[in-house]
């Protein structure tokens, strides 16, 4: 048994065992059932708000909180026998946002996320879900909140090994007491969403780690709650699968609009996923901001050092470095127009687009000259559609290989196939060079 104080849940277990739950449950609940929820929904309140959260383990926890509030350092408090895991954490998460809490192990991020759904009771401070304070409500009401409002995805998946994939996905619905056929339907739907359709009857042990976590994700989605807590959800997966899961999470979030609090120790993951990132160190949140803000303007030396190692090529995307194509001609234009443009700009090739700006391909000087000599009226016959193209959201790190292989600039093309811009090799290299320079040097250069 780990030497920790009774968690609220453990305390309630004991209370339940001794059959005194009702007489002991705190009566200061601020709302009864759904009534309070309904009054708070749809009024633009923050989905989740933490206000001055403290979690201190060990002796004299309350005293430690008081001294920390008065400006004592973490080391002072530790010297007196208390162990602060989370110190004065405050933040707000907006509906539909992915809020990443990033920190090394021991920084308190796991404790923090467990206070957000009441798995750990805060030593001090408040957690508001849809504007309602969940700290200090009774055990039964807390269970209601967890069923209706907030779900969780775990680092090591935490599936029930003796239940099938479908039963695991339906777990939350089972707890909510939904009818069996509704459980089945919703679980199947959620499994379909995460790409596990057809695996319903397998057991977790038959699935790879990545697939097991998809079940964990499906379980959280099937619960139907708006807020998802993800505790190092992808950390146990190998890097390729992790990338895949990150992409999937971004897609799901874009289509379902869940509010996500994502815990990670991986800064690159934080940068990829987070609309905003909270950096934690030694129990304190030292900075909250977007990925770019954290990179560009670190709040202190710790964050600066932390992000110094960040592979910026994995944060910045193609759209941030692309330039307009030097020459693009309409497919319907004749070879003479193209030749004229190429001579004018001293180029040996030109991008060809359709009338709706969709990229058709490129034409090269030799082919254009030959076409002019043949007297062709359009470029259709000589367009070479084999062009290296990338999505605007592709990170720089993934541009090097195609860029090296292509003589022509990379074409940046959106989902509809429209040409947004191009990335010549020299542009990519220049972007890299300027990333390598520290930002403060810019003024000296000027």
């Amino acid at each position: 048994m780990p030497a920790v104080p009774l968690s609220p849940s453990l305390a309630s277990l004991v209370a339940w065992l001794t059959g005194r739950l009702d007489s002991r449950a705190p009566k200061r609940a601020r709302w009864t059932r759904c009534v309070a929820w309904q009054t708070n929904e749809g009024e633009g309140v923050t989905a989740l708000r933490a206000e001055g959260l403290f979690k201190v383990f060990g002796r004299g926890a309350d005293d430690a909180v008081r001294r920390l509030r008065d400006g004592a350092s973490r080391a002072d408090v530790v010297a007196q026998g208390a162990t602060p895991a989370v110190i004065d954490a405050s933040f707000e998460v907006q509906p539909g946002e992915i809020f990443v809490v990033m920190g090394l192990s021991g920084s308190g991020k796991s404790t923090l996320i467990r206070m957000l759904n009441g798995l750990w009771e805060p030593t001090a401070g408040h957690v508001y879900i849809d504007g309602v304070d969940i700290s200090g409500i009774g055990a039964a009401q807390l269970r209601e909140v967890r069923q209706r409002k907030i779900s969780m995805v775990f680092q090591h998946f935490a599936l029930l090994p003796h239940r099938t994939v479908a039963e695991n996905a339906a777990y939350a619905l089972d707890i909510q007491g939904r009818p069996k056929d509704e459980q089945r339907a919703k679980a199947a739907e959620a499994l379909e969403l995460v790409g596990l359709g057809g695996w319903e009857d397998r057991y977790p042990a038959q699935l790879s780690g990545g697939m097991q976590q998809r079940v964990g994700l499906a379980r959280a989605l099937a619960a139907g709650s708006d807020i998802m807590l993800m505790d190092e959800a992808f950390s146990a997966l190998d890097p390729l699968i992790r990338r895949e899961m990150q992409d999937q999470l971004l897609e799901l979030q874009a289509s379902l609009g869940k509010t996500v609090v994502f815990i990670t120790h991986d800064l690159n993951e934080a940068m990829r996923l987070g609309d905003r990132i909270a950096v934690m160190r030694d129990g304190r949140i030292v900075q909250v901001g977007t990925a770019e803000e954290v990179l560009r303007d670190p709040a202190n030396d710790y964050v600066a050092q932390f992000v110094a190692d960040v592979d910026r090529t994995r944060v910045l995307t193609a759209s941030s470095v692309m330039v307009p194509a030097q020459l693009q001609v309409n497919a319907s234009a004749g070879p003479r127009v193209a030749l004229h443009g190429m001579r004018d700009k001293q180029l040996s090739a030109a991008f060809v687009v359709a009338r709706d700006r969709k990229l058709r391909g490129v034409v090269r000087d030799e082919a254009v000259v030959a076409s002019v000599n043949r007297g062709d009226s359009t470029l259709e016959s000589i367009v070479d559609s084999d062009v290296a193209s990338v999505h605007p959201d592709t990170v720089l790190a993934e541009l090097f290989a195609p860029s090296a292989e292509s003589v022509l600039p990379l074409a940046v093309v959106d989902d509809d196939g429209r040409l947004l811009g191009v990335i010549p090799r020299v542009t990519l290299l220049t972007a890299m060079a300027s990333l390598a320079e520290a930002q403060p040097d810019l003024e000296v250069v000027r």
Partner: protein, 291 residues
């Protein structure tokens, strides 16, 4: 205790105090003791009647069928050979009496041990209180239990059975507590995080996941119960233990060895059946299926 305590020649009459307390206890709770006596004796007699009623060949077939069902045909063959040997040694009735004693004692022991283990797993206080008590129960020479139980219930199967329960129960408590504590914290947290109640978490997560280890504990309870049969015989329980005691008092090697062999056969049979049952726990089966 009227004379004053002399530190240089200390005399604490611990035994007398306990004995006095015990006398008071038996006097005060006589109705309760009578009830316990009736229940245990009745349960034992009923099981003996059931096991001894059919001809031994029928019972052997039933035992073998159970062995085959939970394990394999090889185990069924062993069962037939082993139990036939018991019958051939003319130890069948004793074996059935001993089996009844062990089954009833282990059943009651489990009935007490598992809830205690669950309680201990949930409350550090209970766990801390229980630990020295369990140590005491296991390390006190088992024969000592016979004395008060004999005093309370008189000669017969009941004092032996109660001593057996007291001595055999601790591993059941310990294994259950360990099993529940060992259940992956994250899975329990998952139950909590989706709003499951503590009772439901116990039923749907902790017990199923702990079941294989709890079964190992129950197996221990059964084995320790078997080890008590000789002691139980000393206060009047019938069965193989009685053969051993009789063999010892008359230096009859043949009788003792035959009874001992029969105990070994029972032990192997019970152990294999219970561990096979543990292997059929849903958690174990689900982890074994492969894609």
């Amino acid at each position: 205790m009227s004379d004053s305590f002399d530190p240089l020649d200390p005399r604490l009459r611990v035994g007398t105090w306990v004995s006095d307390a015990f006398d008071w206890f038996t006097d005060t709770f006589q109705p309760v003791l009578d009830l316990v006596d009736t229940v245990l004796d009745g349960a034992y007699s009923a099981v003996v009647d059931v096991l001894s009623a059919p001809p031994f060949l029928v019972m052997i077939v039933l035992f073998a069928a159970l062995g085959w069902a939970v394990r394999s045909w090889k185990f069924a063959v062993f069962t037939v050979v082993g139990f036939y040997l018991i019958a051939a040694m003319d130890r069948w009735d004793g074996a059935m009496q001993t089996l009844s004693l062990v089954l009833v004692a282990a059943f009651i022991g489990t009935l007490i041990a598992v809830p205690l283990g669950i309680w201990a797993a949930r409350s550090p206080t209970v766990s801390n209180l229980l630990r020295p008590v369990l140590d005491f129960m296991q390390t006190m020479p088992a024969m000592v239990y016979l004395i008060p139980t004999l005093g309370a219930f008189g000669i017969g199967v009941v004092p032996g059975m109660i001593s057996t329960i007291v001595f055999a129960m601790p591993p059941g408590v310990r294994f259950t507590e360990l099993a529940i504590r060992q259940v992956d914290t994250e899975v329990v947290e998952a139950g909590q995080a989706f709003g499951s109640s503590p009772a439901r978490i116990l039923r749907q997560i902790q017990l199923p996941l702990a079941l294989p280890t709890i079964m190992a504990g129950i197996n221990q309870v059964i084995m320790l119960s078997l080890s008590m049969v000789v002691l139980a015989a000393m206060v009047g329980a019938a069965g193989l233990g009685l053969d051993v005691v009789a063999g010892l008092s008359s230096l009859n090697v043949a009788r003792g060895v035959e009874a001992g062999l029969a105990v070994v056969v029972l032990a192997i049979y019970l152990d294999r059946v219970v561990s096979a049952l543990a292997d059929r726990a849903p958690v174990v089966r689900a982890s074994r299926v492969r894609a």
